[in-house]
């Protein structure tokens, strides 16, 4: 176990993007907040029309917010936070994609595989450590980065509220921390399970390919979809592949039947004039969770993911420094 945690640390040492990208995203959120406040503070013209009223300055914007009903205030805060979370999630899923593709190919490319194989560490441990980064560590990083980004936004916004003589604690009172946290955690679990076969496939390509694996990893699914749809074979493989491909939380929220969450994007009674979105967050019930796990696609995906992971372990046994 001690050596396994060291293998995880080794992945974080090597793949600096797993730390660098979240820090960059946090810096971007900070800058976006500051730019937003700066623009509102120094504006002279109309910035936006909200609820039929012109927003011309920071104080008019804050005034509008404080006049909303508590539920509507929560809705705006939730929308902002979820949007931030979706951006962070999508960017880090791209990082995960390239991490998995490079994880077992890079060691052959730079010939360090001979050093790694000189350690008393099995191929199973090595491959599973890389899978653990994708399945556990990156979702944890997404959660922490999102939480920090949202905390930073709240802190900056409440400072602005305070400076403009509004009740700064209004923001904190109307923030649904537990609801948002549960929402993020369940969504990240669902997302990880849903993308597990893709992760296994990327790991397999990383150890299998003798050329940069991105070509094969992308080309084979594209060719399969092309053949299936061009010749109208009706194998269903196109649907299976396409529903696993889109990145980010959005893909699972928009009518995906395997969706565990019910984040309602349709307009409802909480729709806010001028804000074309609603803000209902509902944490899944036991029935929702059961129906997700009763879905045959979930289990097929897990089986395929484990199959590709097993293949990656088996193939790495015979990989040396020759590409």
């Amino acid at each position: 176990m001690h050596s396994f945690t060291t293998l995880l640390r080794r992945e974080l040492w090597e793949h600096t993007s797993l730390k660098g990208v979240p820090i960059t995203l946090l810096a971007f959120v900070l800058l976006a907040n500051l730019a937003f406040i700066f623009l509102l503070s120094n504006s002279t013209g109309t910035l936006s029309i909200v609820n039929g009223e012109e927003v011309r300055s920071l104080s008019s914007y804050l005034g509008f917010f404080t006049q909303l009903k508590p539920g509507q205030q929560t809705a705006i805060i939730n929308s902002t936070m979820i949007t931030t979370g979706m951006i962070i999630n999508s960017v880090l899923l791209i990082v995960m994609f390239f991490y998995l593709l490079d994880s077992l190919y890079g060691e052959r490319k730079d010939r360090t595989i001979l050093f790694w194989k000189s350690l008393p560490v099995s191929n199973k441990q090595t491959v599973l450590s890389k899978l653990t980064i994708a399945v556990i560590i990156i979702p944890v990083i997404i959660f922490i980065t999102t939480a920090l980004a949202n905390f930073m936004t709240l802190a900056i916004q409440s400072l602005v509220f305070y400076k403009n003589q509004y009740a700064a604690d209004l923001l904190w009172q109307q923030t649904d921390v537990s609801g948002l946290s549960m929402f993020s955690i369940f969504l990240l679990i669902q997302q990880t399970i849903w993308y597990f076969p893709v992760m296994g496939w990327l790991l397999f390509c990383s150890v299998w390919c003798r050329k940069p694996p991105i070509i094969v990893a992308v080309l084979i699914p594209v060719i399969l979809v092309f053949i299936d749809s061009s010749f109208m074979l009706g194998t269903g493989i196109s649907e299976i592949l396409l529903e696993r491909l889109p990145l980010g939380i959005m893909s699972m929220q928009l009518g995906n039947e395997s969706s565990l969450m019910a984040y309602n994007y349709s307009l409802n009674e909480q729709q806010l004039p001028g804000f074309n979105m609603s803000a209902g967050i509902s944490v899944p019930s036991i029935d929702d969770i059961l129906s997700f796990f009763m879905n045959v696609k979930v289990w097929m995906g897990l089986l395929i993911g484990f199959f590709f992971t097993g293949m990656a372990i088996s193939l790495r046994r015979w990989r040396d420094d020759s590409l």
Partner: protein, 286 residues
């Protein structure tokens, strides 16, 4: 004494190319074995088979284990240095030491630190900041800490200057080797390891052409330096190898009565470098 490594009919194909061709050998404990051969002779392939890094045909037993399926367990007993390029460039020295402590159950960090204290390598250095010589020193420091029964070195001094090469082997001999440990070294620069070897295996075109303890070479091979005018007669004794010197000819004979050669000139035990050339060219002509 039971052999640590036993190979019977070890064969390795890359496509249709036969890199190692039905070789048999044993490596006994407490020996320093040189596996030497020209480029592409099959040295690294043989090592990779011993280390469980490649598929092969034939029988191979290392520390009583099958390296094909028990590589990770084998690495408790074997320490391996390929060459200076195999250390990950991005890692810091302290991270590397941390990794060794966590993954090697019998790793002694103090031994590595004691060795490193005598170098210019700092724990905060990244590998990419180190010169080739420093990387070799670091690798050696790591090896010092591993309580392995066998050390496998594959061209460990490739690309190093003569100072570092000499220092590497001196330190290896003086500070690492003892009668409990075994070292297996591959190189094509035989002259730099001949003084430390106890056994030699010369491999050419995938076949082992010479395999014996160094102190038995004199029983099997004889070197003759003879004047040019006597060379023709000596040649009738069928030398394995011959080369022209300034006014003399140098011949190497295999399993020949040394007393018969005395009448032609100076007889001695051949240097490993000459024997290496003789074995390679001899097998080439065969």
């Amino acid at each position: 004494m039971k052999a640590l490594v036993t190979a019977k009919g070890l064969t390795k194909y890359y496509g249709r190319f036969r890199a190692v061709d039905h070789v048999d050998f044993e490596i006994k404990p407490g020996r320093i074995v040189g596996l030497v051969g020209p480029n592409g002779a099959g040295k690294s392939t043989t090592l990779k088979a011993i280390l469980g890094l490649i598929k092969y045909r034939g029988e191979l037993e290392v520390f009583g284990r099958n390296p094909r399926i028990e590589r990770a367990q084998l690495m408790h007993d074997i320490s391996y240095i390929s060459d200076v390029a195999s250390l990950p460039e991005w890692i810091r020295v302290d991270q590397l030491l941390d990794l060794m402590v966590s993954t090697h159950p019998s790793y002694d960090l103090r031994k590595s630190l004691n060795f490193l204290a005598r170098t210019d390598i700092s724990k905060s250095h990244r590998i990419k900041q180190l010169s080739k010589g420093m990387k070799t020193q670091l690798h050696l420091a790591i090896v010092m800490g591993i309580n392995a029964r066998m050390l496998v070195l594959d061209e460990p001094t490739l690309g190093l200057d003569i100072i570092y090469r000499t220092e590497f082997y001196d330190q290896l001999l003086n500070e690492y080797f003892d009668q409990q440990r075994t070292i297996l070294i591959t190189t094509h620069q035989i002259e730099e390891i001949e003084h430390i070897l106890t056994d030699i295996m010369i491999i050419n075109k995938g076949k082992i052409v010479i395999n014996m303890p160094i102190d038995e070479i004199g029983n099997h091979y004889v070197q003759l330096k003879t004047a040019k005018e006597k060379a023709e007669q000596a040649r009738k004794l069928n030398p394995l190898y011959e080369k022209d010197l300034l006014n003399e000819a140098l011949m190497i004979f295999e399993n020949t009565d040394a007393h018969r050669l005395h009448e032609f000139g100076e007889v001695s035990t051949p240097h490993l470098a000459d024997l290496f050339v003789a074995a390679v060219k001899g097998s080439h002509h065969a």
